[in-house]
């Protein structure tokens, strides 16, 4: 039974600093145009930072890093489901009209 273990306060403060830095970077980068090769990378960068921040919160603040395998699987299944839904939805909507154009 490992879920009694919790991170030290130092870990909490480090995670907090990382989250704050992530927020500031998200804010600052939003005003810089990151369009390369005709693709706007702004939302990609913003969402990558958001995913990193969410992962930090889940692993350390929510103690999943120190939890049992059962909790790991439960959490992973939830987010994997979300990934499936968004992937299938977008692969439908993004590809609509392609056949008409040809």
């Amino acid at each position: 039974m490992s879920e009694g273990a919790h991170p030290t306060h130092k870990v909490y403060y480090l995670v907090f600093i990382a989250l704050a830095i992530g927020t500031i970077v998200t804010y600052e980068v939003a005003f810089i145009d990151l369009t390369f090769f005709g693709i706007n990378f702004n939302p990609i960068v913003a969402l990558t930072i958001a995913c990193t921040k969410a992962t930090l919160v889940i692993l350390f603040f929510m103690h999943v890093r120190y939890s049992s395998k059962q909790t790991w699987i439960t959490v992973a299944a939830g987010f994997f489901w979300l990934l499936i839904m968004i992937t299938l939805d977008l692969s439908d909507y993004l590809t609509r009209g392609i056949i008409h154009r040809q």
């Binding site: 927020t23 939302p43 958001a50 969410a54 919160v57 603040f61 979300l82 839904m85 968004i86 977008l90």
Partner: protein, 243 residues
């Protein structure tokens, strides 16, 4: 005892998964409409204050830290620290809701609340010259499919601008549905914190038993995670072309 705690954590996570499904549905619908009506969504997003969005995120991150420290204090059975950190978490939660109120009020005064009194967003209203601009952008997007479209007449440009104004109403539907649902979760979180505070006062929690604090913490962090995604999605769609 360990088994009970394990079962509680598992149960709480299953509940949080249903929450992911609820917010996930909204996120998916939002993404699809954002792809369909990109320019209208940029205009809508640019009319909400990015500064407030930034402050919200910092406030929630701080409250997540104080919540994590409250759980840690409960685990060590230090009553005074539990009280302090739970109260701090509540204060930050209230600060969040107050700013939300200020922002909603601004939207109310600008007539940006979807419904009968919805008015076209600032990008078009305050900069009349931009109507053609936005319409031209929209036209460009449409023309990617077929290049034989006729050039845009002023009439058509106005029509396109009106269409974008209409589509931006959809952005605000999402904005209010998503931030409103999130704010509701914050209010529920504050009720939970009040209940916890009463229990802490009775000295119920210590190294042997602190499940309610731990699970309320999971809930609070989850609400924080939802905001971590709402901030870039709603406030930062595209700020590079003027804000």
């Amino acid at each position: 005892m360990g088994q009970q705690r394990e079962a509680s954590t598992f149960g709480m996570w299953v509940f949080l998964l249903t929450e992911i499904m609820m917010f996930g549905g909204l996120f998916a619908a939002y993404m699809i409409y954002r792809l369909l009506y990109y320019h209208a969504f940029v205009a809508g997003s640019s009319s909400i204050s990015v500064g407030w969005g930034f402050v919200y995120t910092l406030v929630l991150i701080c409250s997540s830290l104080t919540m994590a420290l409250a759980v840690s204090a409960a685990q060590r059975g230090i009553r005074r620290l539990q009280e302090i950190f739970i109260v701090l978490t509540m204060i930050l939660g209230v600060v969040f809701l107050v700013i939300k109120g200020i922002e909603y009020n601004a939207k109310y005064q600008e007539h940006h609340i979807p419904g009968g009194f919805f008015q076209t967003f600032d990008a078009v209203k305050n900069h009349p010259g931009q109507e053609e601009n936005i319409a031209a952008q929209e036209q460009e997007r449409l023309e990617k499919g077929s290049k034989e479209q006729p050039a845009l007449s002023p009439e058509a440009a106005k029509q396109a601008a009106a269409q974008i104004a209409k589509q931006s109403e959809i952005f605000f539907c999402f904005y209010f549905a998503m931030t409103g649902l999130h704010a509701l979760h914050m209010i529920i979180g504050l009720v939970l914190m009040t209940w916890l505070l009463l229990k802490v006062r009775k000295g119920l929690f210590g190294p042997q038993y602190y499940t309610p604090v731990e699970l309320s913490g999971l809930y609070w962090h989850f609400v924080d995670i939802v905001w971590i995604f709402l901030f870039p999605l709603l406030y930062l769609i595209n700020r590079t072309h003027g804000h």
